[in-house]
């Protein structure tokens, strides 16, 4: 309870501390936070690296997800503790920025906090520790710049990129098919990449999935896939070089928005209306035909009669196409979105090289594949998998691989993985620490120790003796001053990561260090946790 006294010596209460309100203060608060963060990090620790184990997550509805993707695990864990949520955010932001290394960043942050705890026990002030970490982080990132190398590839020579993606995919469910999958990812990225500006717009790569079939059936569509079928079962299923009309008006009797009614009181009017209705349908379809369209894509529904007329006029049509897809289609085919039949003219039509309806196995689902559009480079990766669980995991794996390829296109500076970069940074920080006097010296040493937690976890997960392998590599790095030596997770017999083709982008690695240090600093600065208890 916080009490203060006013000038007359009467006590008054600043913060009412009810029975139900829980509050932790001072070092206790910091320690509680560290404890929470460590717990989250420990869950992820065993998922690090190519031999990392999976986690089985059961959602509130009883669905099962099996994954070793850090961001996904944390998201689905539904962490309730506030500090725990910070860690979740941490891995999410790494996911958004880089798309890879989501597990690594959490493990690193956990290790940093763990070491901070022992420093706190030595009586160091939390902020001094945070400052020391900042300094160490700076040294480490500078070291990354020193050891980075360039990774060469070009549009013609995609082999290096494919190899890199294969490394990413080898630890996932798709391991069996890593070669074709990696090729799909690289092709997708290069299709939308702007190599001059070194930019990749990931929005242009859509990853669509449909349950059923085999993983082998996954393929890259250079165009758009929409989950619709032709409106009439007897329309042609395969069109080539078609002009596309995109409509946002229904093939139905008009329904004016203003209130209206038409009264029929004589037989003549009845006949007249009947005639009007018939001509209205014929007219609608005729207009489409006259404009030269060979395929009609409509946002709304079709009346049965209109549908048959379209079929009869040999005009394939698709109905109930969603707004987003309509826009994407309009962009891709170069068609204008036409809101009224009257405004449909030949110059508002778009073009598509091929439109195909795909059927799937024994289930009767169908999808439309639109390829060969002139304007947009949009591509779709169409994933097949035995069940929803596998499908989602394939999608996540592909996402990771795509991100890796994208990062390399953006910035081809790399450092070597398998803990090699961490060990090298740890050595650099240790060296720098010796030149610093004061409390920060200890903090920097702690940072160096924490960095080594990553190779340690890697070795542990791969079933190697962790301390022996780590110290062996560290010694060799020191002796040979070779920053490419890391933990041999795949048991290939060499520690040189260049030969194993295991590397990460410099931006990704830097991001990991920055983010982990920042979160650490934030948690260390908390010295008072007040939270109202739950409602009864």
């Amino acid at each position: 309870m916080s009490l203060a006294f006013d000038e007359y010596g009467r006590p008054f209460i600043i913060l009412r501390e009810q029975e139900r309100k829980s509050r932790v203060k001072g070092i206790e608060a910091v320690k509680a936070s560290i404890m929470a963060a460590k717990t989250v990090a420990r869950t992820l620790r065993s998922s690090l690296g190519p031999k990392g184990m999976d986690k089985m997550l059961q959602s509130p509805d009883g669905d099962v997800t099996i994954t070793n993707d850090g961001a996904t695990i944390l998201e689905m864990m539904e962490v309730e503790n506030q500090i725990g949520k910070l860690m979740v955010e941490l891995s999410k932001s790494q996911d958004h920025e880089i798309g890879d290394g989501t597990t690594g960043v959490v493990v690193l942050a956990g290790a940093l906090l763990e070491h901070a705890e022992s420093l706190l026990d030595m009586g160091m002030h939390p902020l001094r520790i945070a400052e020391g970490y900042e300094m160490a982080c700076k040294v480490a990132t500078e070291n990354l710049d020193n050891i980075k190398t360039r990774f060469e590839f070009s549009r013609e020579d995609i082999e290096p990129l494919v190899k890199t993606c294969m490394t990413t995919l080898s630890s996932k469910v798709v391991g069996r098919l890593k070669r074709p999958m990696a090729e799909i990812c690289v092709k997708a990225v290069l299709a939308v990449a702007d190599l001059e500006r070194r930019d990749v717009n990931l929005d242009l790569i859509k990853v669509e999935g449909k349950v059923g079939g085999k993983m082998e059936d996954t393929r890259l569509v250079e165009g758009i896939v929409i989950d619709k079928e032709f409106s009439h079962p007897q329309m042609p299923k395969d069109l080539r070089d078609v002009k596309v009309a995109i409509l946002t008006c229904p093939f139905e009797p008009p329904k004016p928005k203003t209130k209206h009614k038409v009264d029929i009181d004589t037989v003549e009017k009845f006949e007249a209306l009947r005639e009007a209705e018939r001509t209205y349908f014929t007219d609608m379809v005729q207009r489409c035909k006259d404009s030269g369209a060979q395929l009609v894509i409509c946002q709304w529904g079709f009346d049965d009669e209109a549908n048959h007329l379209l079929m009869h006029q040999n005009l394939p049509a698709v109905r109930w196409v969603g707004g987003v897809e309509i826009e994407l289609l309009a962009m891709a085919t170069g068609a204008r979105i036409v809101p009224r039949f009257q405004e449909l003219t030949a110059d508002k039509l778009g073009f598509a090289g091929s439109v195909k309806e795909l059927g799937f196995g024994t289930t009767k689902d169908k999808m439309l594949v639109i390829e060969g559009c002139p304007n947009l480079k949009a591509v779709t990766i169409f994933v097949r998998g035995g069940n929803r669980m596998v499908l989602d995991e394939i999608k996540r794996s592909l996402h990771d691989a795509i991100c890796v390829a994208r990062n390399l296109v953006r910035d081809n500076a790399i450092v070597y993985g398998g803990g090699a970069a961490e060990i090298s940074c740890a050595l650099a920080v240790e060296e720098a620490a010796d030149k610093v006097t004061g409390v920060e010296h200890y903090a920097m040493r702690a940072f160096s120790d924490a960095l080594q937690a990553v190779p340690l976890a890697l070795a542990e997960n791969s079933g190697l003796p962790p301390i022996e392998s780590l110290t062996a590599v560290k010694k060799r790095q020191l002796e040979e001053s070779n920053p490419y030596l890391g933990i041999d997770c795949n048991d290939t017999g060499t520690n040189d990561m260049r030969e194993q083709n295991v590397f990460e982008t410099v931006i990704g690695k830097k991001q990991q260090l920055f983010l982990a240090t920042q979160v650490c600093k934030m948690i260390l600065k908390i010295d008072d946790v007040i939270k109202p208890s739950d409602f009864e």
């Binding site: 986690k55 209206h260 029929i264 009346d303």
Partner: protein
């Protein structure tokens, strides 16, 4: 587990299990599910009764693995993986749903022993993967292909169908049903479109009375007073309202001020319908099939014109009919010249049991056929349909990939032998996993023996010896005589695709479960 709950990281009611505990939980769950379906494996497998929780407490009796697993409610996440795997097997190849679960269960059982001997799960997985690759190449090597010779191929298909059916309720009449299924599949001419095979179930009679019909049977009635039999039918398939055909435009409604005018409009409405019917009849048809209702007035007019009118064929039926009869689905009737009509040689009403059905024969598309199943009760019919479906799926797979292997545990014994040889050449702990893989493979024939009440250890040992003595032995489990027998002579064949899928899916499922070292269950959603 204790840690995370104490510090309140997770929500109330959520739980986390780590490391050994998690692994134990998933092993237990998966093995329990495998044991559940284990007793249904093989020709002497037993059935399960499934009672639904819903109203009516419906009862299903089956020994189809996928059906059993689909119906039970499992809470264990690892068990759900196995349920999923069996569903995939069902979707992919349609048969082997039990085998795949039993195989995955055996792999996990063996893995559990290895984990207890301090072998890292990743090492086990690596061993399983290599063993699986080896087994697959052996399977490819020992399969054979008779596509080039139609007579032999048909015999293969028959044998496969018989093998599949022998473990089901149809086993008594397997000869009959195997012929049925093979005929139906061969009509498809390799297109593999199972949609064209229509199965109609009618209670009454015996299973033996089930038959394959070469035409198309529609479970609908012909309108009153219309011809019941039409030869050389010209058929219009339509989707159009034949009840009132109201005006849909401009939010129109009728508003009159005298009785006379109502009568006028009614007359006009009738006239409109008459005109529509006339237009339809002008197509020169003698059979009209509509997706929607046909009211009495048009029905009568059709009857007068001597046209058979069939109403309310559901959407599926209409599409299939249009496909089978070769006509288009029509909604407007203004240009009779351009409309494609459907044709068939004969339409007649037939009786099956007590129900009247419409039978189209001599249809344009030769692929379509209908299998009519007869049986004493709906349970039997349902199970018969499932069995037949399995058989059809397997045959379809075999038609597209003509490779065939022997059954009765023959491929498993061969694969186990090869995997064991590989294990003896492999250094390191991986070899242990490979040996375990071989043992799991042999568990399949052993289970078949156990279910038949035979001495599994004895028979499997004999098989092993037979295969060891002779490189291309054809010995497998002969359940009938209770000993090792020549599979080629007994005619026990299986589809290569099914066996391959069992091997791959089973290994994959075991791998997925083995890789898990942490189970996090979220708090169940509160139901209001």
């Amino acid at each position: 587990m204790a840690l995370s709950q104490q510090s309140g990281i997770l929500q109330q009611g959520a739980s986390e299990e780590r490391g050994e505990n998690a692994r134990m939980a998933s092993f237990v769950g998966a093995v329990a599910v495998a044991d559940l379906v284990k007793s249904t494996l093989g020709p002497k497998g037993m059935d399960k009764i499934l009672q639904s929780m819903g109203r009516g407490q419906e009862v299903t009796i089956t020994n189809d693995g996928a059906t059993i697993l689909k119906s039970i409610y499992v809470d264990n996440p690892a068990a759900k993986v196995l349920v999923d795997i069996s569903k995939v097997q069902d979707d992919e190849v349609g048969d082997g749903t039990t085998s795949v679960v039993v195989f995955a269960g055996e792999l996990l059982r063996e893995a559990e022993l290895l984990v207890n001997q301090k072998v890292h799960p990743m090492t086990i997985i690596a061993g399983y993967r290599e063993a699986c690759d080896c087994a697959r190449s052996v399977l490819e090597l020992i399969s054979f292909n008779n596509r080039s010779d139609p007579a032999l191929f048909r015999a293969d298909l028959l044998n496969i169908a018989k093998t599949t059916l022998s473990s089901k309720i149809l086993t008594v009449d397997k000869e009959h049903f195997a012929n049925l299924a093979v005929d139906a599949i061969l009509r498809l001419k390799g297109s593999g479109n199972l949609e064209a095979i229509h199965i109609i179930k009618k209670t009454g009679g015996t299973l033996q009375e089930s038959f394959l019909d070469e035409g198309f049977i529609l479970d609908k009635k012909i309108g009153v007073g219309q011809p019941k039999r039409i030869e050389d039918a010209r058929i219009l398939v339509a989707n159009t309202p034949m009840d009132t055909d109201k005006i849909k435009i401009y939010g129109a409604r009728v508003r009159v001020d005298s009785m006379a005018k109502v009568a006028d409009i009614e007359a006009a409405e009738k006239e409109k319908m008459r005109e529509k019917v006339r237009k339809i009849i002008d197509h020169g048809i003698n059979c009209f099939i509509n997706r929607q209702l046909i009211y009495n007035l048009p029905e009568e007019m059709f009857a007068d014109a001597g046209v058979m009118a069939i109403e309310h064929a559901d959407f599926d039926g209409i599409e299939r009919l249009a496909l089978v009869l070769g006509g288009e689905i029509v909604s407007t009737f203004d240009n009779p010249d351009t409309v494609k009509l459907g044709h068939c040689k004969l339409i007649e009403e037939i009786m099956i049991g007590e129900d009247r059905l419409i039978h189209f024969s001599g249809v344009a598309l030769g692929e379509a056929c209908t299998i009519v199943l007869r049986g004493a009760s709906t349970h039997i019919l349902d199970e018969a349909e499932r069995s037949l479906h399995d058989a059809l799926c397997v045959l379809k797979e075999t038609v597209s990939d003509a490779r065939v292997v022997f059954g009765g545990g023959w491929p498993e014994i061969r694969m186990a032998k090869a995997v064991e040889e590989l294990a003896s050449r492999t250094p390191g702990k991986k070899a242990l996993a490979m040996e375990a893989f071989a043992r799991a493979l042999r568990a399949l024939p052993a289970t078949i023996c156990d279910n038949a009440g035979l001495d599994s250890a004895e028979i499997v040992a004999n098989l092993k010896a037979a295969h060891g003595a002779e490189a291309d032995s054809r010995m497998g489990v002969d359940v009938v005589r209770g000993e090792a027998g020549d599979m080629a002579e007994l005619g026990i064949y299986e589809s290569f695709r099914v066996r391959q899928q069992v091997l791959l899916s089973g290994t994959e499922a075991a791998e997925i479960i083995l890789r898990v070292d942490d189970i996090i269950k979220c708090a169940p959603r509160k139901r209001g």
